[in-house]
């Protein structure tokens, strides 16, 4: 009856913790190099932080005034000095002042990060869950009507820009059907950010961002499960009269999940880029929009802090997928 080898119910905490520790140690030099890279690239960029700061007022300001601003903002000093100052004060917990937001960087991030995380996590859940479910169903009857419809949809979605999907969703759900709000965190006319308002306003952006990520998960799961179903153990299991459900979930899905677990980590950067466009379309007050502003305004303190965050997210994503992979397939183990 039991087709699986007996396994200890306890998780291998020790090896997992060791891997996490090793990766964290490795992450430090990576993060250092990345922040220096950001300062260097920003230095080479054609954008001028003083002009960005001054905006339209800069077009009527005298040269003396612009020079004074340059000195005040501290952007006339050499690259390495600026980076070192930023780094040393960041280590003491002072992330500096964002020139584009006119606020301390820590406050800017604290204000926005939660909303981005909520959006990204919901979208990710939509993509992973729906992608997996559809992938298994499609793999079960390859070439069947469901497989053909979903696969071609997936290829279309993969090519469709998230921005365009967003506009389409607004047109259909907000203008045509009038059932969902088209932007913001809460109704434009209300100040209170209540849970039910946020949920309603989250539906469209999360759906659009989730849909834009879905094809990857769907295609990986479909391929993985389909391959597993063709293998000998499955044929053997079927021959022994094991139920279709158990074959599909016990064998097919477990084998098909493996490539997808690696995918989860590697999709994090994609998710961040996607969130950028989606946040813009839906006036979602997240961190992504601030990232663009920081970059085009050469807002060093904000840019550096955001880059550290994004890099950390990618590294954590990779760690997570490796941990999951190790758990799903004990042969892989945890590093080394």
């Amino acid at each position: 009856m039991n087709t699986r080898p007996a396994r200890s119910p306890r998780l291998p905490w020790g090896p997992m913790a060791r891997m996490a520790g090793r990766r964290t140690l490795l992450a430090l030099p990576v993060l250092l190099a990345v922040t220096f890279g950001v300062f260097a690239v920003a230095e080479l960029s054609p954008f001028d932080p003083v002009k960005a700061y001054a905006g339209t007022a800069g077009l009527t300001a005298s040269q003396a005034e612009l020079d004074q601003l340059r000195a005040n903002l501290g952007v006339d000093r050499p690259l390495s000095g600026r980076w070192w100052d930023w780094l040393t004060s960041a280590l003491t917990g002072d992330l500096g002042t964002s020139s584009v937001m006119r606020r301390p960087v820590a406050e800017v991030i604290a204000e926005r990060l939660g909303w981005s995380a909520l959006l990204a996590a919901t979208a990710f859940a939509v993509a992973v869950l729906a992608g997996t479910a559809l992938g298994v169903l499609a793999a079960r009857r390859r070439g069947g009507p469901l497989d053909r419809v979903v696969s071609s949809l997936a290829y279309t979605l993969e090519a469709a820009p998230a921005f365009w999907l967003g506009l389409l969703a607004i047109w259909f759900f907000s203008v045509h059907l009038g059932v969902l709000p088209s932007g913001g965190l809460s109704d434009a006319g209300s100040d209170a950010v209540t849970a039910d308002q946020v949920v309603r306003h989250l539906v469209l952006p999360a759906l659009v961002l989730g849909l834009s990520q879905l094809p990857w998960f769907f295609l990986y799961v479909r391929q993985g499960v389909a391959d597993a179903l063709d293998e000998d153990p499955v044929r053997g299991a079927r021959a022994r009269g094991i139920g279709e459900r158990r074959v599909l979930l016990g064998h097919g899905l477990r084998a098909g999940m493996l490539p997808m677990l690696t995918l989860i980590g590697s999709r994090v950067p994609e998710l961040i880029t996607g969130a950028l466009l989606v946040e813009t379309v839906f006036s979602w007050p997240g961190i992504a929009a601030a990232t663009v502003q920081a970059a085009t305004s050469v807002d060093f303190p904000l840019l550096a802090a955001l880059t550290v965050l994004a890099t950390a997210a990618v590294l954590a994503g990779n760690l997570l997928s490796d941990l999951l992979y190790g758990l799903a397939d004990p042969r892989v183990g945890f590093d080394g």
């Binding site: 339209t56 004074q68 964002s98 006119r102 434009a188 100040d191 039910d196």
Partner: protein
């Protein structure tokens, strides 16, 4: 039925209930502006800061703050925190403001002369990162004279100075205790104005509630929200879906609301011009004959019709034709034949490819426009095509200001600007030779003694007749020797639900502050009687 499928079924029902529940409570209408005492408007740009000390609301009309003076619908100055217009000394060097008594900041603290002195001194402080500081250059000193009066002493007689005192006053007891460049006050302002900031969700919206203790009377619109929507199409869509009561829109999208029975389109006249700089230091554009020819070879009327869908006016200088400061008779008709004659007479002969040349110099110059700005791009291409008909080659190129700035001395630029409050604000910076190449001032490095003198006379004299005559001289000189080809003045378009009465627009500047648009006086809106 097995237990598992039963559970699955229950879950599906629950999910369906959740989804329909979600849909039911978001029926359209619930999202719209709310009652007659609430208004939601869609704007394109978010301010970086709400601190007047860093430049917010410097042209007046900030909802949270008041200046010493403010503008009425016709842009005439009227008292706000001052109880009357200032007393100006005979030499034009001292301005005395008597302050309105009994005014309180929205936190309950009284407004006094100290706050005025604090505001101006802080802005003028070199450590304050206020990029518009240059506008207050004329001030030598600002002092209080008792609790109810403030005296400004100027470095030189500056006739339009009173126009600068519309800038909002910040409370010293709050703003004076924090870092002016990054303190909490930059995002949580406290002022004396008709509205109090209720919430500011960056990238999403700013919401205001009426200030019940406002010295000018509590506004009828109790709740005022500005939704920040960068994308023009999304803004139009959300206006259509009923989430917004009003929005600023570009001409092509505003057209879609023309036949809408429930909404009105307001076209705000503006001083917002688009022009082409003709750099004095370029061998082609520096030649007065070429400048004059280009000035009449451009078809301004067609530009207004085609590029702006009729929402604008031909521009012959920084002053729009409808303004009292405009010099009648300086309009230039489109006259391609005369343009050709001028070039012929000046020795610019057409070559084989139709482009003229003189002494081996080809009549050709580059024209830059800022990338991503469609209206500027359209103007640049139209200008190039008109110039070509006269035998002058204009090579259009796009770039950011960082790319354009180092080239401004010799390359032409499709520029924009405009400030309605006083002709000095634009023209001095645009035409005064001593400011040639100073930052973005006088980009063409225009150099004309007669104009220099007229500009100085105009800013120093307190006599309106003398000022008018001086600006007439400037405008006539620009016909003889243009340093810029002015193309159009652009109307700003706003589409508004017909829920209120008595809406107007002010003449607007180039820069869209939060105070522009029909909601410049939202505190005076009244709901429509049904």
């Amino acid at each position: 039925m097995t237990a598992r499928t039963a559970r699955g079924g229950a879950r599906a029902t629950l999910a369906a209930a959740l989804i329909t529940g979600v849909a039911a409570c978001s029926a359209p209408g619930s999202a719209a502006g709310g009652g007659a005492d609430a208004a939601v408007v869609g704007i394109a740009n978010e301010p970086e800061t709400l601190s007047p000390l860093l430049g917010y609301g410097k042209d007046g009309n900030s909802k949270i703050f008041d200046g010493l003076l403010t503008h009425d619908a016709d842009m005439k100055l009227k008292p706000a925190l001052a109880e009357a217009l200032p007393e100006v000394s005979a030499d034009g060097l001292t301005y005395t403001y008597r302050l309105r008594r009994g005014v309180k900041f929205s936190d309950g603290a009284p407004f006094t002369a100290k706050d005025v002195v604090f505001t101006y001194r802080t802005i003028l402080d070199a450590k304050t990162n206020n990029a518009s500081k240059t506008e207050l250059d004329a001030i030598a000193e600002v002092e209080e004279q008792g609790p109810d009066a403030v005296v400004f002493t100027l470095k030189y007689p500056y006739a339009p100075f009173a126009e600068r005192t519309v800038l909002p006053i910040a409370p010293e007891h709050i703003a004076g205790r924090q870092d002016v460049n990054s303190g909490e006050f930059t995002a949580k302002p406290v002022g004396t104005g008709p509205y109090v900031l209720a919430a500011w969700s960056r990238g999403e919206k700013l919401s205001f509630t009426a200030n019940p203790a406002y010295w000018g009377g509590e506004p009828a619109v109790k709740k005022f929200t500005m939704a920040v929507i960068k994308d023009d199409d999304v803004r139009a869509t959300r206006l259509r879906s009923g989430e917004l009561d009003a929005a600023i829109l570009p001409p092509d999208l505003a057209k879609g609301f023309k036949d809408d029975k429930a909404r009105t389109t307001y076209a705000a006249k503006s001083f917002d011009y688009r022009n082409v700089t003709l750099p004095t230091h370029h061998p082609v554009t520096g030649d007065p004959a070429v400048r004059q020819a280009l000035d009449i070879a451009v078809d301004r009327t067609t530009m207004v019709d085609k590029l702006l869908a009729g929402a604008g006016k031909p521009a012959y200088g920084p002053v729009p034709t409808g303004s009292p400061w405009f010099t009648a008779g300086t309009e230039r008709a489109y006259d391609l034949d005369r343009a050709k004659r001028i070039l012929d007479d000046a020795g610019w002969k057409a070559g084989e490819d139709g482009i003229r040349a003189r002494d081996g110099v080809r009549a050709s110059f580059p024209l830059w426009y800022t990338s991503g700005d469609k209206i500027r791009q359209d103007h640049a291409l139209a200008f190039a095509s008109d110039a070509k008909k006269a035998g002058i080659e204009v090579k259009t190129e796009s770039g950011t200001w960082e790319v354009i700035e180092p080239r401004m001395k010799t390359d032409a630029v499709l520029a924009g600007g405009g400030s309605p409050a006083d002709p000095d604000f634009d023209q001095y910076l645009l035409l005064q030779s001593s400011l040639g190449g100073d930052g973005f001032n006088n980009m063409a490095r225009y150099d004309n003694r007669t104009v220099d003198r007229a500009l100085d006379d105009a800013r120093r004299s307190g006599d309106p007749a003398v000022r008018k005559a001086a600006y007439d001289t400037v405008q006539r000189e620009l016909v003889k020797n243009p340093g810029y080809v002015f193309l159009t003045h652009i109307d700003h378009l706003y589409v508004v639900n017909d829920k209120w009465v008595g809406l107007t627009t002010q003449v607007e500047p180039h820069d869209h502050g939060l105070g522009a648009g029909p909601w410049w006086n939202v505190e005076s809106w009244k709901p429509e009687q049904k």
